[in-house]
């Protein structure tokens, strides 16, 4: 019974440590006392340990059914399987904030352990800024959202159960991955703020913060993809993206982080775009805080919104104002001191990356406008409005198409001046091939022609071939593929993977959006329906008993001609504790298509509303996104990130060889 108190105490302790971590190093920096600066790393590690203890004890509360904890009583149940009891820790507001804080602390630990190559001054300033963010979040938890609130002395005998929607492996992986990304952007933010404080803006700043940005971006990419995949099979009735405000809240920092990653490349290699890169680093984390605000305050209608609590919203909004306002003020005061040496030609890698940044920023701004518009109109006393998918599609799709058509040029160009026509000559053939590919694809796939598909397939082929051209050029420059893989900068390999991932993803998206076969039907036992090249027969319905639910389970036989291809079992579950109803779709996943069968509601007379779909190439969407994220992880294995600071010349050399 005492354990939750220890957990609570550990949380308070973490808050105190974070306070020290925020104050001591920066005090040491200004008074030039190395002893104070040196406290940063041990404090960061201690904060991590305290939060890990706190988090572990909350998880233990779930595992041991400690219903004296209000949070456990609200989100768990005696019948809940152990793995969902573990993930239920972050299944609601308070616990997900604890996960947020824990991950922030773990990034701090990682920075303090892996920053040996970074000067002491810089490292301690970075950790100090991270400490300040932690102070804000831990105060938010302790004052408005404490997960260790007890129900004593009359604790309930059983819990209210975890929201059935969250009783899914998706909850185990999606939030931690997403938070790793969201919170990971705080590292790039802290580096930017630290360099603004110290006034050292040379490219070493970019080299230090680049791997952290790329890792955070990779986690964010995978986290968003997992969320989309989860929505697809669990709540989406087969959709994979809904332009829900909370999805947008994760997409906006993703756009900015993607822009930041590319702009950091220019700053590191050429020393250009310095101010812009600093601004992007500040914006990326600010946007992820804004996302947290939108999700946690419940100001927008969303699947992710928990019960509204205005007090929480006000606190996060205040925190947001302090973080964004503070860092932008610092930027305004200091950025004029940043000098940007050198220039570049109009046709150069710098120009193409500038183009990339411009489009990504515009995309972020337009998604942000669409997401906040209902709030703005409401705040100005206007009507209640909502902005739906048609707006986002109208704005996003053309911008994405322009961005993607530019993707071929960047990797093929060189720094400073790329006016050698030989660099881009292969793109003429690529253009012809990709247009032909887009036009001929319906014949290969045997589906009807759609303009969107033709353009999308062309773009996917365009990017894929342009990436191959870059690979071939580098293979020729290095002599063989083996030497290339051993010697080339890993960031280049990561970029190839990520760009190919974009191509796969576009292909998946246009196929699903334009060629999904979709039918809502009334079906009873014995009925057969045609679905693509399959015949789907409903055999019957039976009632089955799950660990904490009852379900109507249908048996569907899928025939390919005369031959029985597969038998699937979609379910309609009713959870015992909450009596909430949930649909478990039956999905036969494949390389070229998914078969999707879901039960609607009983219609009387033994008939059910049934949804049948064939979704061509839907897995390519997530496959592409995972390839992008994986490319990010590959790129940080580059040797130069493991070397000490003194070898700073080596990276320029490697970059020269790559170009």
């Amino acid at each position: 019974m005492i354990l939750p108190e220890i957990g609570h105490f550990a949380l308070v302790l973490a808050f105190a440590i974070a306070l020290c971590q925020a104050v001591f190093p920066i005090y040491g920096y200004y008074t030039q006392q190395e002893g104070f600066m040196a406290t940063a790393k041990p404090l960061a590690v201690m904060q991590g340990l305290a939060l890990a203890l706190s988090f572990g004890l909350l998880m233990y509360g779930f595992l041991s059914h400690d219903f004296s904890l209000k949070y456990v009583a609200d989100n768990s149940n005696l019948d809940l399987p152990w793995y969902f009891r573990m993930s239920a820790v972050w299944g609601a507001h308070e616990g997900s904030l604890l996960l947020w804080a824990l991950i922030l602390a773990l990034w701090g630990v990682a920075v303090s352990l892996l920053s040996r190559g970074i000067p002491e001054k810089m490292g301690s300033l970075v950790l100090s800024v991270m400490g300040m963010i932690a102070v804000g979040f831990l105060a938010f938890m302790l004052f408005t959202s404490n997960p260790f609130v007890r129900i004593l002395p009359f604790m309930p005998g059983n819990g209210a159960d975890l929201n059935p929607l969250l009783q899914d492996p998706g909850l185990i992986f999606h939030p931690p991955m997403l938070y790793m990304g969201y919170v990971g952007l705080s590292v790039a933010f802290s580096f930017a703020v630290a360099s603004l404080i110290s006034g050292e803006f040379d490219s070493s700043w970019a080299r230090w913060s680049r791997p952290w940005t790329v890792v955070a971006w990779a986690f964010l990419t995978i986290g968003i993809a997992l969320g989309s995949w989860w929505a697809y099979y669990e709540l989406g009735w087969g959709g994979w993206w809904f332009w829900d405000p909370v999805e947008n809240a994760s997409l906006i920092p993703w756009f900015i982080a993607t822009a930041l990653m590319h702009s950091l490349a220019v700053t590191e290699k050429q020393g250009l775009f310095r101010r812009w890169t600093l601004l992007l680093a500040i914006a990326a984390f600010s946007m992820s805080l804004l996302g947290t605000f939108l999700v946690r305050s419940g100001v927008l209608t969303s699947v992710h919104a928990f019960a509204n609590d205005p007090e929480r919203g006000v606190f996060i909004l205040g925190f947001l104002v302090v973080v964004v306002g503070g860092s932008l003020t610092l930027y305004a005061v200091r950025a004029s001191k940043v000098s940007t040496p050198g220039e570049f030609g109009w046709i150069s890698r710098e120009s193409f990356l500038l183009f990339n940044n411009l489009l990504l920023t515009v995309m972020a701004v337009s998604v942000l406008l669409g997401t906040l518009y209902p709030l703005l109109v409401d705040a100005l006393g206007g009507d209640k409005v909502s902005v739906g998918a048609p707006f986002f599609n109208a704005v996003f799709v053309p911008l994405a198409a322009i961005l993607v058509s530019g993707m071929a040029f960047g990797p093929l160009s060189v720094w400073r001046q790329s006016d050698d026509p030989k660099l881009f000559r292969p793109l003429i053939v690529t253009l012809i091939v990709s247009i032909l590919g887009g036009l001929l694809w319906p014949i290969i796939f045997e589906n009807e022609f759609a303009t969107g598909t033709a353009i999308g397939v062309s773009l996917a082929v365009w990017v894929a071939i342009a990436t191959q051209i870059d690979v071939f050029r580098k293979v020729r420059a290095y002599g063989s593929l083996k030497t290339l893989l051993a010697r080339v900068e890993r960031g280049i390999i990561g970029m190839w993977m990520a760009h190919l991932g974009v191509a796969f993803m576009i292909f998946g998206v246009v196929m699903v959006e334009n060629h999904t076969e979709h039918r809502d039907l009334r079906m009873g036992a014995g009925d057969t329906q045609v679905l693509g090249r399959y015949d789907v027969r409903m055999k019957g319905i039976e009632i089955i008993q799950g660990p904490n639910y009852m379900a109507d389970q249908a048996t569907f036989e899928i025939y390919e001609g005369e031959h029985l291809y597969k038998t699937v079992y979609p379910q309609k579950r009713r959870y015992n504790a909450s009596s909430m109803v949930m649909t478990e779709a039956a999905i036969d996943s494949g390389f070229t298509r998914d078969l999707y069968i879901a039960m609607g509601e009983p219609l009387g007379g033994g008939d059910w509303a049934i949804r049948l779909s064939v979704k061509p190439f839907v897995n390519w969407i997530w496959g592409g996104a995972f390839l992008m994220g994986f490319g990010g992880f590959v790129s940080i294995t580059d040797q130069r990130y493991r070397r000490r600071a003194k070898k700073s010349g080596a990276s320029a050399e490697a970059g020269g060889a790559a170009a």
Binding site: T301, A305, A307, E343, A394, D520, G600
Partner: protein, 150 residues
């Protein structure tokens, strides 16, 4: 002007122009694609336009759900405890759609009825869409909602 400054100026002008165009397009797209929200009372008073897709929020009236025995057609009434609006819909209703619960419906008004293209129910027992709360606040029946969720 030296070439570096000239380049920077051109880039900044380009950026501003591009952003301006983008924001303009976004605002235009917004004006075409926003969905206004109405309460059952407003629709009963004929305040909702019939040419646009709108949103309606309220509670599903008890005992009002009627199903067609042959197809997937269903109809129900959405109420703010002052006025009711009948909603017709063809398709599969969300899992958390239930009589006496909050709902947000998107569709077109025809003869003071709503032909729904989308029915959104909440995803969490304790969560009430802000639109529904707003509808009940306007009809002065918010206490009924509070009585129900507690």
């Amino acid at each position: 002007m030296n070439p570096k400054r000239k380049q920077r100026l051109l880039i900044i002008l380009g950026l501003v122009a591009a952003l301006g165009v983008a924001v303009g397009l976004v605002l235009y797209a917004l004006s075409q694609n926003i969905n206004l929200f109405f309460t059952p009372t407003q629709i009963a008073d004929n305040q909702a336009p019939d040419s646009r897709i709108i949103r309606l929020g309220g509670m599903v009236a008890e005992g009002s759900v009627e199903r067609d025995p042959e197809s997937l057609e269903v109809s129900f009434e959405v109420t703010d405890f002052q006025n009711q609006v009948r909603v017709t819909y063809t398709g599969i209703l969300p899992d958390l759609f239930r009589e006496g619960q909050g709902v947000v419906v998107q569709g077109r008004v025809l003869n003071r009825q709503l032909q729904a293209t989308e029915v959104l129910a909440k995803h969490d027992e304790n969560y009430m869409p802000p639109e529904v709360t707003e509808a009940l606040r306007q009809s002065g029946q918010l206490d009924k909602l509070k009585g129900m969720t507690q």
